[in-house]
Amino acid sequence: MTEKAQKVSRQPMPEQAPEIRRNNFLEVPLGYPPQTAQLEASRCIQCKNPACVKGCPVGIDIPGFINFISQGDFAGGIAKIKETNALPAVCGRVCPQEAQCEGQCVLGKKGDPVAIGRLERFLADWERNEGVVKLPQKAPSTGKKVAVVGAGPAGLTVAGDLILKGHEVTVFEAFHKPGGVLLYGIPEFRLPKEILFAETNYLERLGVRFECNFVVGKLASLQELFEEGYDAIFVAVGAGLPTFLKVPGENLIGVYSANEYLTRSNLMKAYLFPQYDTPLIRAKNVVVIGAGNVAMDSARTAMRMGADSVKIVYRRSREEMPARVEEIHHAEEEGVQMFLLTNPVRFIGNDKGHLTAMECLQMELGEPDASGRRRPVPIKGSEFVMETDMAVISVGAGANPLLTSTTPELALNKWGYIIGQPDTGKTSMRGVWAGGDIVTGMATVIQAMGAGRQAANSMQEYLTLGW
């Protein structure tokens, strides 16, 4: 076995070429064909005490599902994954595997780790393409009703877990479709929406009810949901508050928050305007401020909307860029330029109020700050002006107070995030759990799902044993 693992090298994933993909919204990595998947699966040495599983926040039986692939039993493999993860097609694509499962794989010590994410994606895609998504057995009905607020990955996980335990589950979602950031934030070329719809459709077939267009805190409060007969509530409303720079000129036409830019493009399909009615500015000279995954998604979207030039403007240096390495790599391949150690101080517009330029300051790195990263300090007299007709601000998100401000019983931290107990997600309000970005601040899809899993376990205990 060990010998074999050394012979076969980590299988690359076929991709659309950069010069082609920068003109379309189709998915960039194309997925493994079955033979490649089996070859990659054969690299796994089936550890007795698998380190990879400890790296996965939902604890998937990784050697278990990989073994099924090696044997060509793809149906068995996907069933294995679905015992613990309801959204494998999503996680296989967007998990930061290098920091999770693959980061722990023993093969990574000497060479390349097993491509766990790609294999997970392979099985989920195989199942969807076969058109026979098997429904697991549900526990007998308990007569208990669970409300989930917010249909992002955290909420969908709780819904999937608790419906299998025999509870009645309703998911309340503010937007007109479920998915959360997976729907309105992450672009089509990274996560085709068809995949997400297949996943939410699967939950519906299990019996989960989705109430879309339902803004909790407006149409009903948590208290009112209890009065309507819900026995337990999971709050997973995400970190949906845009951060602006608070510099002059920020309200000019052409200055977007990343939330707005990506929601128009992804949820409302503005990239297909005028077939779809929602408009979006098609700019020539785009700047994106920030360097996380959100910034990379915005930059790559602007590129596909026909920009001549797209620049990432970031006040720290390359080492501090928070985006996944793969996203930065893909963005640069597509022609996105990096303007590092640069900080905007002012937006400049014409007499019609359209953005025309951005004034910046050059920065240098000083002493480490609270986050442990070296603090960027402005270089005196380094002001310069960059021409631009569109700026997308992606410097982070905050806690949206819409729901929490109507629910005084929920204890919040000083930034407005809900305080949830670390291992259970229990909040200060009886019968209410919270998890995902509204507890941790913007994190990752799989962390949100992990929080959902923990909360679901704790909620199950409550529904059967009490608070």
């Binding site: 503010a174 007109h176 149409l219 929601t263 009615d277």
Partner: protein, 281 residues
């Protein structure tokens, strides 16, 4: 299903009223709040104020002016048709209390938004003087409803074809000169609201305006609807839509409302072309 139960055309077909089945929203909505709706799968999210609600019948009423592609598309819907999505109630309700004398000034379709607010102020025991204006007689809407909702109702038209010949602000000035007014509510086109606010500022009378900034989610998530009020950025969808008229930067609002003019024309031209092709067949 958000089915249209009745449809009425007003102001020579430039304004349409729909009564829509939306029981949950009807139960919860208060004057001044709005909904965001979508006609179909390719449609955009359109914010519209609720002109009325009936919690018993489970209906909400919207009154919209046909100004572009989406509202033109909405006009093609008839009784029995449905909207795909309606989310609401959104925004802060109007703060209704007994203050004494309230003047409600409405222009154009703004009268529809003003109507439930007017009624609520009167029900709260205020003396309510309303002023309804439009360019010309045929474009006036809800004159009777407004008369019923207020203690005293004045009509004005820019061309003098009905009521007072001139702007609502002229009438408002007359009232401010002749009696003590405690609150003015001005809702209509931005230039009108700006004129009302400029006038009442001189009299030191508190003035509420309702800002129709371009919106997307309506829950404070995107920042698209940002407006400057008293030098601070506010989100019209969650902090408003009503604000202190004396603090609002109306020029910036007008500027931002023009964000998508070229796209709006493109969309409308395409829509009209399709319609004329279809009817030619």
């Amino acid at each position: 299903m958000f089915t249209i139960l009745s449809k009425r055309e007003m102001a020579q077909g430039t304004v349409v009223e729909n009564v829509i089945s939306a029981p949950r929203i009807a139960k919860k909505a208060l004057p001044g709040q709005f909904v965001i709706l979508r006609v179909n799968e390719t449609g955009e999210r359109i914010p519209l104020t609720m002109a009325d609600t009936d919690p018993e019948k489970g209906t909400i009423t919207i009154i919209y002016q046909v100004v572009g592609k989406s509202t033109a598309l909405m006009k093609t819907l008839g009784v029995g048709d449905s909207f795909l999505d309606i989310a609401g109630p959104l925004g802060k309700p109007t703060h209704i209390e007994k203050v004494g004398t309230v003047v409600c000034v409405g222009g154009g379709t703004g009268v529809a938004v003003l109507h439930p607010i007017t009624r609520a102020f009167k029900e709260a025991g205020n003396k309510v003087i309303s002023i309804c204006g439009s360019r010309t007689k045929d474009l006036l809407i809800l004159e009777e409803e407004m008369a019923e909702a207020s203690t005293e109702c004045n009509i004005c038209t820019d061309d003098g074809t009905c009521g007072y010949h001139g702007f609502g602000t002229d009438l408002l000035k007359g009232i401010l000169d002749s009696e003590k007014v405690d609150l003015v509510v001005g809702i209509g086109p931005v230039p009108m609201m700006k004129a009302v606010a400029n006038l009442t500022r001189k009299y030191g009378v508190k003035t509420l305006v309702s800002l129709n900034a371009i919106m997307l989610d309506g829950t404070g998530m995107c920042g698209c609807c940002r407006v400057s009020v008293g030098g601070k950025t506010q989100f019209a969808c969650v902090d408003g839509p009503e604000f202190d008229g004396h603090a609002v930067d109306f020029d910036e609002l007008v500027m931002r409302l023009n964000s998508y003019v070229p796209q709006e024309h493109e969309s409308m031209n395409l829509f009209e072309h399709k319609c004329s092709c279809a009817s030619a067949k």
